[in-house]
Amino acid sequence: MTAIAATMRNELIGLGGFVERNVYLTKRYILWDIAFMVWTIANTLTIVFIARVEHLPPAEENKLATILLVGAVIWAFLGIIFEFMTETVAWERWEGTIEYTFMAPVSRTMHLFGQGAFAVLYGLIRATILFFAVAAFIGIHTPHANYGAAFALLAIASISFIGVGMMTSVLPLISPEKGAQLGFVAQGLMLVVSGVYYPVSVMPHWMQVVAKISPATYVLRGDRASIVSGTGLAWADAWPLIVIAVASMPLGLTIFHVGERHAKKHGKLKRSG
């Protein structure tokens, strides 16, 4: 085996190690995961019930409920990705394993990809359960839905979300005390400009400009069209996501690398307590 092939092999095994670790943790915390799922469903219901307030005709009410549900599901999905990426550092610092992970001979690219890959898998499973549980509870009908296109767009968007998540995962490295919370601030800001429960057009002009660089804008618009009207995968939604993914991945890695150097220089790459 050539040196490059051996390195690649080790890197992929290392990536698998991060996925494996998160599988073990999910198994060990399965009851907490069930409780978290129940909370997410309840939280989503509080949003989707708003569709019934105006006593709209049934078809209109169903459409509004679906639009709100898609927003809530994307919010939950994005929340999982940001949570896992931010926990790349925060959870390890809390458990005390951070030094062992950062001194292991696996590249930071595979480290962050491994976290991201598991987050996407876990997030997709949760998003699916959330969507169908709330739809069944409220009685939402989606006779024209094109779930294949909705999933495909979400999968493309996931790459951009991981890239943005890499940028936020550096925050606990720089600020051990409040970095994780700042990650959630970033998530909230991204969704507020992306039209999570409303069309982008209702926002002030400057927010509409910012919405153009948020991947959530395109996945919310595309998935709503696929689920409400059965639209196929639209190139107009896919290409911006591909561009954002291509830009955000190297940018996220560079930002993480700079943050890691800062932490190593100032003695912050260590366990807490």
Partner: protein
């Protein structure tokens, strides 16, 4: 004879003709807020000051020092977890600060805290950690039970959560984790601190066995003078970031004309080993 040793588990060759560790004028300074001097004022605290030493391949060297003396800073610099502010460090000829990926294949470490995902079992913790070093599931299926048996870990507790294990048991798993990856340089940062006497003896005996059976060089940082004397070929004293000596114990005692290492510490520093350390030492301990 070839100048290269057998490759490690990750395929990194190690030069036999070079020292295991070469440290030259290594300096690390932490900058911390100084509220006494003003709201935005900062001051520099040297954690290591121009430390120079060499460790030969296969040697066991102990570095003694009080809390905040710079021992952990030294270990963390050699583990690629800190960047230097001056000087150099080479491990088997590789620059510790510019060839970090290579160094990480050669080094592993056991620290005072066992540091595991507490809900996960010993088996699970070792399993995922081994992947970072390129070990496949088929390799760890046999390697993990073997290494845990070697450190005297009961087989029936392999799948139990780490949080249910005693400190001594957790430290055995930490040793197993370090050895699983066949490191050629093992950094032990107070590996027996906080252990009960029996666990302490077991861990010390295991360190001796590692020296007998593995091709490993050991840097042991401790504040236990008896442990240093019992395990190491040479003993060094790090005091407030400065390496005062690094010699065989007999040489140290002869040099200061004393009977014990405690007396040697007093002769070298003018303080007793148990004496309270100052505020700067505490800050060095926290950030180093």
């Amino acid at each position: 004879m070839s100048t290269f040793a057998a490759p490690t588990s990750l395929g990194t060759s190690v030069r036999r003709d070079l020292p295991a560790v070469e440290v030259e004028n290594l300096t690390k300074v932490f900058r911390r807020r100084d509220p006494k001097a003003g709201r935005f004022a900062r001051r520099s605290l040297p954690a290591l000051q121009e430390v120079t030493f060499t460790i030969e391949r296969g040697e066991c060297v102990a570095i003694l020092g009080q809390n905040g003396s710079g021992k952990s800073t030294l270990v963390r610099l050699l583990s690629t977890l800190l960047l230097e502010d001056g000087g150099e460090a080479r491990i088997f000829g590789h620059d510790a600060f510019h060839e970090a990926r290579t160094i990480r294949r050669l080094v592993n470490r056991v620290s005072v805290e066992a540091s595991f995902f507490k809900k996960m079992s010993a088996q699970e913790n070792l399993s995922y950690a081994a992947r970072f070093y390129g070990m496949t599931p088929s390799q760890t299926r046999t390697a993990i039970p073997e290494i845990l048996a070697k450190v005297g870990f009961p087989p029936d507790r392999r799948t139990e959560s780490m949080m249910n294990l005693s400190r001594g048991m957790q430290q055995k798993v930490a040793l197993a984790r370090a050895l699983l990856t066949s490191p050629v340089l093992l950094l032990l940062d107070e590996p027996t601190t906080g252990l009960d006497p029996r666990s302490k003896l077991e861990v010390q005996e295991f360190i001796r066995e590692v020296r007998r059976t593995h091709d490993a060089t050991i840097l042991l940082c401790t504040h236990d003078m008896g442990e240093a004397e019992a395990l190491a070929d040479r003993v060094g004293l790090l005091d407030r970031g400065q390496l005062l000596f690094l010699e065989p114990v007999a040489e140290v005692k002869r040099r200061y004309g004393v009977q014990t290492l405690e007396e040697a510490f007093f002769a070298a520093t003018g303080r007793t080993f148990e004496e309270e350390h100052d505020e700067d030492d505490e800050i060095r301990e926290v950030f180093g």
